[in-house]
């Protein structure tokens, strides 16, 4: 990194030296910039939320929080990188339903971390429903249109943020309800996928609401169905899957984690600052605008939640036949 890091590191080293501490300890943290890995390409929900959280933590912790995009293989590439980093609180990752819920089953045998034991889980940041959007000129306005397209000879292409995402599973399950497999087109993240949908290369997309919301508001894409039990308060005009006769609902979640073994005081501080940040009125308003709900779990509860997610998804992934190939 740059001279700025060097100087800060130097300062950080010299200050505890006076106190007699020889190694960077929990008391000294945070003294160095923090790297927050986003395991998707820029422009998706993980990225949008990570940049909000990074800005908040930066202000509250007084050190730079640098977002780094490491996309690929259902968010497992970036997550593996975080799992292997030193557990000193300087490397964090946006854990999410793909990397820490579904991908462990979809990429079974190829993934080289355990979603629970190789991480210190810190905070659940946001949960949000999935929304299906269509290109403006695709002629698809309802799920019935989409189903008709899927059953036609040409079939229906649906873009997602990647194999192993909750969107991937939605595409597989929707295909089962329609009675014809949908053509799943994975990208490195919702950003590039959305671009392909706006451009009309792919007519339809399954996306987490926060990354789609601004494009829906700007009219660049048409919202077709919300995969939630009730209509979403921020998008009351968008009917649900159930209303349109398809019994599907899907929430995705995004949180803050780090490599296994981060000292408890650091975890506690990160958790406290994250919670304080996401419950400020400004951030709550921003989350509402994006279409998400701030998380409230303790680190222990979040760890348990991830354990249950991995266990829940394993049979579902197997039953759906979803694979990354």
């Amino acid at each position: 990194m740059s001279w700025a890091v060097g100087r800060r590191a130097l300062l950080a080293c010299s200050v505890p030296a006076f106190g007699g501490a020889t190694r960077a300890s929990a008391q000294a943290w945070p003294s160095q910039p923090i790297r927050l890995i986003v395991p998707f390409a820029p422009g998706g929900t993980t990225d949008i939320v990570a940049r909000l959280v990074a800005a908040g933590l930066q202000e509250r912790l007084g050190v730079s929080v640098v977002v780094e995009n490491r996309a690929g293989a259902g968010a497992t590439v970036g997550s593996e990188m975080a799992a292997r980093a030193a557990p000193d609180g300087t490397t964090l990752v946006m854990s999410n339903i793909a990397s820490h819920g579904i991908s462990p089953s979809v990429y079974r045998g190829r993934i080289r971390y355990d979603a629970v034991t190789d991480f210190t889980h810190i905070a659940l940041v946001i949960t949000n429903p999935t929304v299906w959007v269509a290109n403006r000129d695709s002629g698809i306005r309802t799920l019935a249109d989409a189903a008709a397209r899927a059953r036609s000879a040409s079939g229906l292409d649906v873009a997602t943020s990647g194999a192993g995402s909750s969107n991937h599973l939605m595409v597989v399950r929707m295909g089962q309800l329609v009675g014809k497999e949908l053509n799943h087109i994975p990208f490195r993240g919702a950003g590039p996928a959305m671009q392909a949908v706006i451009a009309g290369q792919v007519p339809m997309m399954s996306d987490s609401l926060p990354s789609a919301s601004s494009h829906i508001r700007q009219g660049s894409v048409v919202p077709v169905a919300m995969a939630s039990a009730e209509r979403h308060p921020s998008f009351p005009d968008v009917p649900t899957f159930r209303e349109q006769g398809f019994d599907l609902a899907s929430d995705s979640w995004f949180g803050l984690s780090g490599p296994a073994g981060i000292p408890a005081p650091i975890v506690e501080r990160l958790h406290r600052e994250t919670m304080a940040f996401i419950s400020t009125p400004a951030v709550r308003a921003r989350f509402a605008e994006l279409g998400g709900t701030p998380g409230t779990m303790t680190p222990a509860a979040y760890t348990e939640f991830i354990r249950s997610e991995v266990a829940t998804w394993a049979p579902l992934v197997q039953a759906s036949g979803a694979t990354a190939d």
Partner: protein, 501 residues
């Protein structure tokens, strides 16, 4: 006249003292990180983002943009002086720029890099202002099949127009593509060519390859020739361009600007292709094409212009769609969102200060880069007078620090050493490094687009021929390959090159 009024408004915003100051800070920092090997703009922008928090959104974005194109420019300096490309785009600059430096024309190479960049930046700025939304449509008309064919064309042309044997350069391209395959497959999660080394699961590092193949290999070559242990073979030479050099550069800059502006708007990969495309074009059509390989000024002027034009026009998808094309752009979106602004099609109307201020500041930033860099050229060139026995250990140390600091991992340093030795062997065997690097950069993108195109076509390869853009690219690639291979069999390629164009 709307455009003029809008631009006038933009300049009103960009030329406030505060914005000028932050633009200057951005350009200076950008140039500095461009010059220092291995330090990317992303880390720097992230670290500097906080100092813009108290500032209005426009100011923050102006500074970030300054860093972004400052870094693009600064990378050329080390490429020309030390054969050390820090960014993908400056790989091309090393090819003729470093040769020029060795002939004592470093001053001229640096001058034309600055002037060409400035000109291209100015043209691209006007282009962004005048037809941003229109150009977005062009960018959106490129589907996965078209991207694949465009990149395929890039690879073919890079092999065909390289020096020496076509077969050797095709071999190097293929090797580069294979190197790009190393790591975790983005789609299936499969480990490829990693030989169980965990560090390779994230792929081979571009900076390691570039520094090894160019910088380190060059040092080894120099040490081998005791009599020529100087970066420069001749005397320093005049800092200014000769009238002849200036005259030759003009058409190259014009062509480079065109190529760069067009390729820059393609999100993902466009900018990487721009400087390379321009180099290949100059090699084929410029008046000085016979000098290529020995330090032709067109080979610096064109690519530098292209690279700068592309870095301006690559803002178009961000400004009009709100989707960031790369990590630097994502940081800017992040900065905007923190300030409560959502980039996208409505930004032009909703935030005219920001939109037009940014566009005007692009031009102001380019002017500043020129003002900062032209006087520096004399200083940079003096660096070459440093005796080589002092010079090469310093270069090695800077490279090692730069590469290590990428991920704080010694493995990256070892990688650089391996590529340094490999690069040395390649020069001995007359295998060109540039086609390999282009293969490395374009290969993974090509693969991703190929897969996506095949998924969308239900496995039907005809999609590459049915789409007009794709078919055109493939046709050009095919003609280029045949045209070069046929005479190559009979009389060798260099004479074919002399006849062609």
């Amino acid at each position: 006249m709307d455009l003029l009024a809008n631009l006038g408004h933009g300049f009103g915003v960009a030329l406030t003292l505060n914005n000028l100051l932050f633009c200057l800070i951005g350009c200076v920092i950008g140039t500095a990180i461009g010059v220092l090997p291995g330090i990317g703009p992303v880390a720097t922008i992230s670290l500097l983002l906080p100092i813009t928090f108290g500032q209005p959104a426009t100011t923050a974005i102006i500074m970030l943009a300054g860093i972004y194109y400052g870094a693009q420019y600064g990378g050329s300096t080390t490429a020309i002086l030390l054969n050390l490309p820090g960014e993908v785009s400056s790989v091309v600059t090393t090819l003729e720029g470093y040769k020029m430096a060795r002939r004592g024309r470093a001053g001229a190479a640096l001058s034309i890099a600055a002037l060409g960049s400035f000109f291209a930046g100015s043209v691209a700025t006007i282009l962004v202002a005048a037809s941003g939304p229109l150009l977005t449509q062009v960018a959106l008309s490129f589907g996965p099949a078209d991207y694949f064919s465009l990149m395929f064309l890039g690879l073919i042309i890079s092999a065909v127009l390289a020096q020496g044997s076509v077969v050797k350069s095709i071999g190097m391209v293929v090797f580069g593509v294979s190197l790009g395959m190393v790591g975790t497959d983005v789609q299936t999660g499969q480990q490829r060519f990693t030989f169980g080394i965990p560090e390779l699961s994230d792929g081979v590092g571009f900076v390691s390859i570039a520094m090894g193949m160019f910088g380190i290999a060059e040092i080894i070559l120099n040490l081998e020739r005791p009599e020529a242990r100087s970066v420069m073979s001749g005397k320093v030479g005049s800092l200014m361009m000769t009238r002849e050099e200036f005259r030759r550069s003009i058409p190259a800059v014009l062509r480079g600007t065109t190529v760069g502006s067009l390729l820059g708007i393609l999100p993902g990969g466009g900018a990487a292709l721009a400087s390379f495309g321009s180099y290949m074009m100059e090699r084929k059509v410029s008046k000085g094409r016979h000098e290529f390989g020995t330090g032709a000024i067109e080979g610096v002027a064109g690519p530098e212009a292209a690279n700068n034009a592309a870095s301006q026009t690559s803002f178009i998808p961000l400004l009009t769609l709100g989707i960031p094309a790369n990590a630097v752009m994502a940081l800017m979106v992040g900065a905007l969102i923190i300030q409560g602004i959502q980039p996208g099609p409505r930004m032009v109307e909703a935030q005219p200060d920001l939109f037009w201020g940014l566009i005007a500041s692009m031009w102001v930033g380019n002017l500043m880069l020129l003002v900062i860099n032209l006087p520096m050229i004399g200083v940079w060139v003096k660096l070459l007078a440093v005796p080589y026995r002092h010079m090469y250990p310093s270069i090695m140390i800077f490279c090692a620090i730069g590469v290590y600091s990428l991920q704080n991992n010694v493995f990256d340093v070892y990688q650089t050493v391996v590529f340094g030795i490999f690069g040395y062997l390649c020069s001995k065997l007359r295998l060109e490094a540039a086609p390999m690097l282009i293969g490395f950069v374009l290969g993974p993108m090509m693969e991703e687009h190929l897969r996506r195109a095949m998924l969308l076509s239900r496995g039907d390869p005809m999609v590459f021929l049915e789409r007009p853009i794709s078919a055109t690219m493939l046709a050009i690639a095919f003609i280029a390959l045949v045209a070069m291979l046929l005479p190559n069999v009979r009389k060798g390629k260099d004479s074919a090159l002399a006849e062609g164009g």
